[in-house]
Subunit: 188 residues, 2 copies
DNA sequence: AAATTAATAGGACGGCCATCCTATTAATAA
DNA sequence: TTATTAATAGGATGGCCGTCCTATTAATTT
């Protein structure tokens, strides 16, 4: 693995810190400490904190799209693809347990801050929403594809928040089973 | 309506500001401006910001308990009571639309801040959880009462987050219908 | 009425933060 | 090789924040 550019290192560090400690609670000092560069050097790459946030969101959008594309080719059926989405709750459990859903928690924080980038952050949700909608359409649920996509989105949000708050992995596993059964039943 | 004590005014103002703008984003100046008292006077009532947070959480616990008690007497059946809980999503839609679920968003924020009061905040969820569990037990679901309570909790969290993020009341209404149908079916 | 306590006001302090500025070094282009 | 640009370092600035301190006024008690 070759060394990343300073720019990429900053974005990665900010990405993790925003996720783990929140956007507002993360300072320039925190990021520069993690990347081991000086605070002054920072401003050669990003003019403002909001610029970093935008870069982080753009990176998340790209990563999300890449993941969806991968699922699209790796899984033969729409059911299988939707189950990939459902399963990330357990795959990323260690992080979700501590910090919740990276998409939902950022959207919620930016909404409360009334931050200029809040719509930008929502785009990550939109990516999942449209992709899920497409899968449900392919399953023949043409009329309510979007509603079903939103349902799955809300399901994962709720389970992430509650199982994280109560530190309860068992509940997350039970809910994954439930939603998988629901999905199977949907396609009888 | 008689005038509230300064103490109560501070707690109420802090409660609203913590909900609307987040705990960290709310400053002493914000609160004292809203209550129209000086910053100095503040410290006669609360020594630290954490003390205010604790007082706000205690107030929320009391208000929640009062609401649950009211439902308990107002509604004759456990189904009716659970539907009261489900319905607050629509009752409080105007606020949820802008600021999400007051319980979930505070728990999430305090978890990211690794704040000393995060467990205290979770207690509000626990109040709902145990109350819902009791209702499901009375419906005859003795073995999985807690799991069902958690399911309803997660449902409301997810719908609040997603419908708020997408500013979509219609989706919230659809989901309320769905969960009501699920509840009816559960009791065949 | 006098003494004591509660409530309020507002300035002061030290810390952290985002941002800016300038100087120095490394890399690249001419 | 020289000129120019990119990258880095670190101090300076001004603002806000939580907290503290002291003085003044209102309320209560003796």
């Amino acid at each position: 693995m070759s060394k990343q550019s300073t720019y990429q290192q900053i974005v990665n560090a900010a990405d993790n810190l925003f996720y783990q400690n929140g956007f507002e609670h993360t300072s320039f000092t925190d990021i520069s400490n993690l990347v081991s560069i000086s605070r002054g050097n920072f401003y050669h790459h990003f003019k403002t904190k909001n610029d970093i946030l935008s870069a982080v969101i753009k990176a998340r959008l790209a990563n999300t799209q890449a993941m969806l594309d991968e699922w699209q080719t790796a899984e033969a059926t729409p059911e299988g693809r939707i189950k990939c989405y459902i399963h990330i709750l357990l795959t990323n459990w260690d992080k979700i347990q501590h910090y919740g859903c990276p998409v939902g928690t950022l959207c919620t924080e930016l909404a409360k801050l009334n931050h200029a980038s809040k719509e930008e952050a929502t785009q990550v949700f939109t990516l999942f929403r449209q992709w899920l909608k497409q899968q449900f359409k392919q399953l023949g649920h043409v009329d309510d594809a979007d509603q079903l996509a939103m349902h799955v989105l809300a399901w994962s949000q709720g389970v992430a928040t509650i199982s994280s708050t109560f530190q309860n992995k068992e509940f997350a596993e039970q809910e994954v089973q439930k939603i998988n059964a629901w999905l199977d039943k949907l396609n009888h």
